[in-house]
Subunit: 465 residues, 2 copies
């Protein structure tokens, strides 16, 4: 049994760590969930973090870790059970030991992704993980959820950027593993176990991260394709020509561009009528090869195979940015329209095109919805989101939402996909994990959770019920 | 307490899985360790593997998993305690569901790395993990030990090639997670936990692996550098010019080339007198860029900065292969000379050059040894190996070996390095892990081991004492 984080418990914490309980700590970006909190604690360093967790372990008080609060599955808001202590990493924001010649830096958990980008750029390097929410998202949350974003195709997700971690385990003990090594085979991979565990196995307090060199030449293009199948063929063709130098390959639907046109009319679009399907491709090349030439060569080869019908190749940094702006406004457009249901899914690449065709057809027979399917095609990761028909409101779909999502997930899982590609489980997808998770895997997860957190104080209700 | 795998126990196993106990199952490549075995079991499929492990769990019989047997730290040979059952994956060798358009395949644990390479090549793709021992090393062992090799710099180690696993857990239950997904954030990362656990947390029976496109143009060069520091500067320069297209960057010492010249006199070397330091660089480029031109450009830029003094750029596939042969014969040369002590270490890149200088100086004051320092410089991974002085035998160093290795490891660890970069812990480095492992990390490892393998049947004595 867990106990609430009450005033008497607060008196046992290190001096000066408590902060007033304000709304900002209880919210999540979509505004649909509301957490509770007995206390908010913001430690200044590792030792204070450990002291807080140790006190929670002794008193059986639940701990909800909080980074930038940008997660989309409710991992950061606990609404059930005794009022938790929210452990905010907001005061641990240092970026230290940035080593450009080694391409490594150490960031504390509360540092924003943007601050890591800025520090790397200042040293002439690049941190290769980009998210729309990077101004608020923090390193601890990014690792805790194994965040993805637009450059995973080339550089991998958050997991792949991390060389080492420092963490406080559920009993308040400290795991010190801030290595700067590219190779280290000395025992179990606890780093990857904590990454993506969404704060249920411990709290990451700092991470050693890798940087990369900026590619010598960067090119961006938006190409019109006939279908997702053609987009995948284009990706394969690009893969063969580019030797892994594709930094992003994003699928964009006409519906998504339509929402953007409706809500951001000042944003110039390449076509007066949004093409039904297009892709945004970014390449980063070795020196000696002109990116525009490479993209023109790709376009010509793709046109020969009837894979592309039109396209724009950015001729300047401003034009590249304008194309990216279009892509990045799609989630904003979605928010303003208001989704009936959103699905962060992934599929094996060979199943992806058929999934889109089949899911579209299935939903057409089930409900009057508009579908905006977009996302990180190179990773097989789609955001398959449903919106009210024109003139209808989101609320009108309240009694259909569950049925529609179930049907989408059923189809995804039948094709060997994932019901959460990059957002994680949080509290919103615990039932889905129960339903579709492999029983052997779930049993092993429970055994590990019990072994490391026997009292269940770490982010209770997240990931595992 | 564990029980031996005796005849009575053998009668409880599935029909036809037992094989005669022969020497081949009890050996390791360096011929210095000798394991024992009560029974050898070679299951034909997942269900038989699970049945064997379940029987072992019930009877508390130790299980030693065996792949190609090429490991260098004794993970595959158990010489202490009750005679184990050796579980050989040699009959599970299928490669199935190879999907070139998706760049994925599923390999059973007993498939050799070479057979995965061949299958990928036949489909016009590439499996990006290369080891000297790939003709014998098997997928299960490669994942169990998170093997490295020469292409880690670009493609990552074994871990990074794996999209999903199927495994038998220590209680005989099955973990089914043969996903073909690039992104899947649905719970704890058990895949990465089993990878590198050296068979102590379960037995990987099959893996879903990624393939990659062959780069459009491949170039190889061997460049003479003044020092490891210059080699690192060259690596940084190449990184900036090549946008991540460096497939290998290997440091080679004059001592290593000398051993090769001595034992493989037919192998032509580029220089009559081996240069004190050189690097082998391989690049794999996008189409439109000539690899020889790119390497010549790199050489010119490096010469401008006084980083290189000489070099050969391969003009043909045969010449590329000849340069690689030189590199790959270095371990064979070492074996024929007979090392006093070998150290598979890694260092933060910023510490690496100074480490070599300091370690060389330290050893010069300690013993009369020849040092062959070579390895995967791009990963900070050195094979820092000590050999008898000319005319002396390996045995003459028996009473110095421990002291010399301790001194090397002490220096490595003081500089933030690792005492096992790619070979793992096995049974030979258990004491080192005890000594240098972070206490918080070790405690968490033990908790996980107890949770998943409460009777300690899985590869006892490996990784954790």
């Amino acid at each position: 049994m867990l106990n609430p984080a009450d005033e008497a418990f607060g008196a046992r914490l290190p001096q000066g760590v408590l902060r007033p309980v304000t709304e900002a700590y209880l919210e999540e970006p979509r505004g649909r969930l509301h957490g509770k909190a007995g206390l908010i604690a913001a430690p200044r360093d590792l030792d204070e973090t450990a002291a807080i967790v140790r006190a929670c372990a002794e008193a059986r008080v639940p701990v909800v870790p909080r980074g930038g609060g940008t997660g989309l599955v409710g991992g950061q808001v606990m609404w059930d059970g005794p009022a938790p202590l929210i452990l905010s990493l907001e005061r641990m924001t240092a970026i230290r030991n940035l080593r450009p010649t080694e391409d490594s830096l150490v960031a504390e958990a509360g540092a924003t992704l943007q601050s890591v980008h800025d520090a790397a750029a200042k040293a002439g390097r690049m941190f290769p993980l980009s998210l729309a929410s990077q101004g608020s998202a923090q390193v601890g949350g990014i690792l805790g959820t194994n965040a993805g974003g637009v450059n995973v195709l080339r550089y991998g997700n958050a997991r792949a950027q991390c060389l080492g971690i420092e963490a406080v385990l559920p009993d308040g003990s400290i795991l010190r593993d801030l290595k700067r090594l590219r190779k280290d085979n000395t025992g179990y991979d606890l780093r990857d176990l904590l990454i993506g565990a969404e704060g249920t196995l411990g709290i990451i307090t700092a991470a050693s991260l890798r940087m990369v060199a900026q590619p010598a030449g960067v090119g961006v293009a938006m190409l019109v394709v006939d279908s997702p199948a053609a987009a995948l063929d284009l990706l394969a063709l690009a893969g063969e020509r580019m030797a892994g130098c594709i930094s992003a390959f994003e699928l964009i639907s006409g519906q998504g561009l339509g929402f953007v046109a409706e809500h951001f009319p000042d944003l110039r679009q390449p076509w007066s009528e949004p093409p039904r399907w297009s892709v945004l491709i970014e390449i980063g090349l070795p020196s000696g090869l002109n990116p525009s030439d490479a993209l023109e060569g790709l376009f010509a080869a793709a046109a020969d195979k009837d894979l592309v019908s039109d396209g724009v190749i950015a001729g300047s940094l401003a034009q590249s940015q304008a194309l990216w702006d279009l892509r990045e406004r799609i989630p904003d457009g979605n928010r303003l329209v208001g989704a009936v249901a959103s699905h962060d899914i992934s599929l094996p690449l060979d199943e992806l095109a058929r999934f889109i065709t089949d899911a579209d057809a299935m939903l057409a027979g089930m409900a009057d919805v508009r579908i905006n399917c977009f996302g990180h095609l190179g990773d097989g990761n789609l955001h398959y989101n449903l919106f009210p028909a024109k003139g209808k409101s989101r609320d009108a779909y309240d009694d259909q939402r569950g049925r529609l999502s179930d049907a989408v997930y059923d189809l995804v899982m039948a094709r060997g996909g994932s019901f959460s590609a990059e957002h994680g489980i949080g509290r919103l997808k615990v039932a889905e994990l129960e339903r579709w998770g492999d029983p052997g895997r779930l049993a092993a997860m429970r055994a590990i959770k019990s072994a490391l957190d026997p009292f269940g104080i770490m982010n209770p209700g997240a990931v595992l019920a």
